[in-house]
Symmetry: C2
Subunit: 567 residues, 2 copies
């Protein structure tokens, strides 16, 4: 047996920021080297960020990605890190120009080997058949006499894929580079998979994942190292940058330089250094369910703001629970002094709503201003004579236009505060409350908005801080306040019922009959399904400010715009 | 040799309207039978419509598609059409529930054979790897002793695919079912391909394509029949329903019932009927370039309106060329009495603009009303104190809100009138002029808006009709009229230059250096490329009313929202 000090760099790239991402890589290798790491593994596509979508198809982008990796190699050597073996994900071509999702092995100022991902996921949020050409070769790198096999993300999830070859090739360590987005409860699935594949490969397995928000996705880190029996040796923290370092006792490879699969082993003549003491093996505590979802929301929001170059956010504060929860999230993401709320009361706004909005602002310490909408609404009504639903929607659109005007003037990113339940059934005004560049709770059902609001207040209580969300915003009956005495239950069932039906239909693709069989009223289910399909088509006809597809928290619904199919 | 009367049904389905699409099929088979057709071939996925996107993944949708085909088979028999061999595209499963893009052969009230598409396109507007599982078997059906091979769309485009097997299998006729969207000049490419494949297959080749608009796509029909030498025997009309019928003299197959590729020949015992006289071979005249693009725009707009259940459209009429051209298109699509325009002058609107809008309305016979925006704009300015660009955008948003209010009240579909040039560089206000459920000229560069406006007026002159578009709208210098004396050229180069740069960057993926090498000023190109990338990101941050991706007329740009990459 021989000892290898392995580091996993769990870092947060930005799509397209090749220079910035390479600088992150250089920084994390520097840190790992200062702790004696022999090998540093970085996530999938860390040089380009992930997902790159159609950028992968641009020849100039592919060339720049390759150039960035070769420059990183020379920069590492110049910084005295040439003796560290670095495995880094990037975009390359297959020789004929077809893009590939690749890993480069860097040593002594050069790229000494590369691996192209075999299995390309093409479901849910993934479209890799569109972007990448699959690889089919195995890669094993011999460092200090230890054979290290390389695989990328989906390669691990497919039975009989490159992992099966690891056993044939008798590698002692399998490193897997990942860009694996957060889903609820995925950490448990991931650990089970990593342990099972380690046993199948009969190898120690190191799984490194990126972290941070990128558009619709949030990456949760959760990097893992397990031994060949599948037992956890180390685990990274969730949702934050982390550097996971362990000493691994691994079998020596012998002198055979050809793999069972036919490829030549890549020999890396890294010098073995005396190892400084390593503190302890590192298994970070898991977040509980509420903390995990809340962290995902905060990270997704914060990174969307900062990666888009904004410093502040702006949204309407109605006094209701959705905007109150978004306010708490925003303050946690970028600090209350960068959060701007607008109270925009109408003739139908209740006194308690206005009071709750100001109470919230005071509790959070955010900026608030009041802009009554009557003068604008009256001007439209005098010119256009709108009534009924058109008048209700007008109020929401006046608020949307007011918020966008202030955003244009002052430079804040506008947030849309709608939740998944109301957006799913179309209980929302296009170009009204749907206005915004990012909708932080669009993937969160209403019942979870309440649950997480109570949880966030409880965290504050436990820490001896002011509860951010007014209790009356949590407890009041939901109302859009677009006409006198209006309640959400005028149009919708209780959210407890609605969310169960939506979960079955949207997340689990259950049919009408399935949902009725689960104990719900057929007429009600029919109505909700029709509303959901209609809302999907309406969204396609008049897309709101942000996508509503539940990528992080549920299934993507990509439906044609003009379909007549309804169930 | 034996004579086969073959009919191609070039028809217009609606995605998800299974019952309606099956009725279209029954209708066209009835027509074909009345003219003595032995075999009727219908387009790819005609039962479900195309593209079905994630509907393909719904088990209940797959079941309904299969049920619709079996019902169509019994309905055909009940209607006395059991002796006609009908080949029809639909969604089926591979046995384990994975969706497949299939063709069914119907005869005597039953599905007697099925074929699953081998090659799944996954580029540009296609995402078939996401939706379908590929087939790998050949299908040859023997009718009247003639062997007919079946393939679907992309199977024809791939070298060495099922078409290569047709020669091995010695089929006399290859029928290809297509859902092939219109692109500029694609008819020439398509004809060249069909002729080449016929020679390779040494078979007569019949190519049937659907027609009509479906969301972002327009299908142009253009069904083609060529002999084994590649000479055109018949060709369908572009952009309209058509039934192409020919008598083909084809070689008899002999008695071998096993194909070279191993599959059994499917024998269909259709009775040969005495053939009624067939008028003549049918080679429809091609449209010229302007007529082709204009037809695509009219069909795309008309089908979007009607398939979404609208009867009328509404948009702002500024007196400028874009809204004037959209007005002419709309009147050609659904008739002037269903077209509603709103003149919404501000303090910065010129007298001639207002006059041009009313002149247009009179020339076209469409409905127009005037809603000056000063009262609404003044109310916002008094409440919010906006200046500069925020004030400019406010005017556009007040117009957007006014148009949406009238749409809500009266039920019209709102059209956004922006062209591809200004949308590409972000010369547009989100939630302002970008408001709308469909943007009919979003894929048309400004220089083409002028060119087609002149062409449309010329068509009217030649027909002795009133020219729909005021000459002053065509000839005036473009201005958004959001501040005194504002001209597009304050912010942008001449559109002749802009459109050439955009064509290279957006359609052809040329790099900055490529475009400079073509003779454009580096500083100008840099600016335009930065504007284009920024507009793409802004659109993702605040999506406008409709997608801007140039699907019918150019390349789809799917870029990440927060990328830092720019070139």
């Amino acid at each position: 047996m021989s000892t290898l000090r392995l580091a996993l760099g769990q870092i947060n790239p930005t799509v397209g920021d090749l220079v910035g991402n390479a600088a992150l890589c250089l920084n994390v290798v520097t840190q790992a080297h200062s702790q004696g790491a022999h090998v540093v593994v970085l996530p999938e596509m860390i040089i380009t960020g992930y997902p790159v979508e159609d950028l992968a198809l641009r020849a100039s982008f592919q060339r720049s990605s390759v150039l960035t990796v070769t420059t990183l190699a020379t920069d590492l050597k110049s910084a005295g890190l040439g003796n560290v073996v670095v495995v880094v994900g990037y975009l390359d071509g297959d020789g004929s120009g077809k893009p590939q999702n690749c890993a480069a092995v860097i040593f002594d100022g050069r790229v000494v080997a590369r691996y192209a991902k075999h299995h390309l996921p093409n479901y849910g949020v993934f479209d890799e058949y569109r972007y990448f050409h699959p690889g089919n070769e195995s890669l094993v790198v011999r460092v200090h006499g230890i054979d290290i096999a390389v695989a990328i993300c989906e390669d691990l999830w497919q039975d009989g894929g490159p992992v099966a070859r690891v056993r044939d090739n008798k590698a002692g360590l399998l490193v897997v580079l990942n860009g694996s987005p957060y889903e609820r409860d995925k950490d448990d699935v991931r650990l089970e998979l990593v342990s099972r594949r380690a046993r199948e490969a009969n190898a120690t397995l190191a799984y490194v994942n990126m972290v941070g928000g990128q558009d619709e996705l949030v990456f949760d880190g959760d990097s893992i190292i397990v031994n060949p029996a599948g037992d956890v040796l180390a685990r990274g923290e969730q949702f934050v940058d982390d550097l996971v370092i362990v000493d691994l006792d691994l079998p020596e490879a012998g002198n055979n330089t050809t793999l069972a699969t036919g490829e030549a082993v890549v020999i890396v003549n890294a010098q073995s250094q005396p190892l400084p003491t390593l503190e302890s093996r590192d298994v970070k505590v898991r977040l509980n369910d509420e903390a995990e979802v809340y962290a995902a929301l905060v990270v997704g929001l914060r990174d969307y703001i900062t990666k888009n170059g904004f410093k502040s956010v702006l949204f309407g504060l109605s006094g209701g629970i959705d905007s109150a929860f978004v306010a708490a999230l925003s303050c946690d993401a970028i600090g209350a002094k960068n959060v701007y709320g607008m109270s925009m009361p109408s003739a139908y706004s209740s006194e308690h709503s206005i009071a709750d909005a100001f109470d919230l602002a005071q509790r959070c310490g955010l900026n608030i201003r009041s802009v009554p909408i009557a003068p604008m609404v009256d001007a439209y009504l005098a010119s256009l004579g709108l009534t009924g639903l058109a008048e209700e929607n007008l109020q929401a659109r006046v608020r949307g236009t007011a918020v966008m005007g202030v955003s244009n003037q002052e430079g804040h990113l506008v947030l849309a505060t709608g939740n998944k339940s109301e957006l799913s059934v179309g209980y929302s005004t296009i170009y009204g409350d749907a206005v915004g560049g990012f909708a932080p709770i669009k993937d969160l059902p209403k019942t979870d908005v309440w649950k997480l609001s109570r949880w966030r207040n409880e965290q504050a209580r436990l820490a001896g801080q002011t509860e951010p969300i007014p209790v009356s915003s949590i407890n009041k009956e939901p109302s859009a306040e677009l006409r006198p005495g209006q309640m959400d239950t005028d149009s919708l069932p209780d959210y407890e019922v609605l969310d169960q039906i939506l979960n079955m239909y949207v997340e689990r693709d259950s049919s009408l009959d399935d949902i009725v069989a689960a104990g719900f009223d057929r007429a009600l289910v029919s109505k909700i399904l029709a509303l959901t399909d209609h809302a999907e088509y309406k969204r396609r006809q008049y897309p709101p400010g942000t996508k509503v597809s539940g990528k992080a928290f549920g299934r993507d619904r990509r439906l044609p715009m003009t379909t007549k199919w309804s169930e």
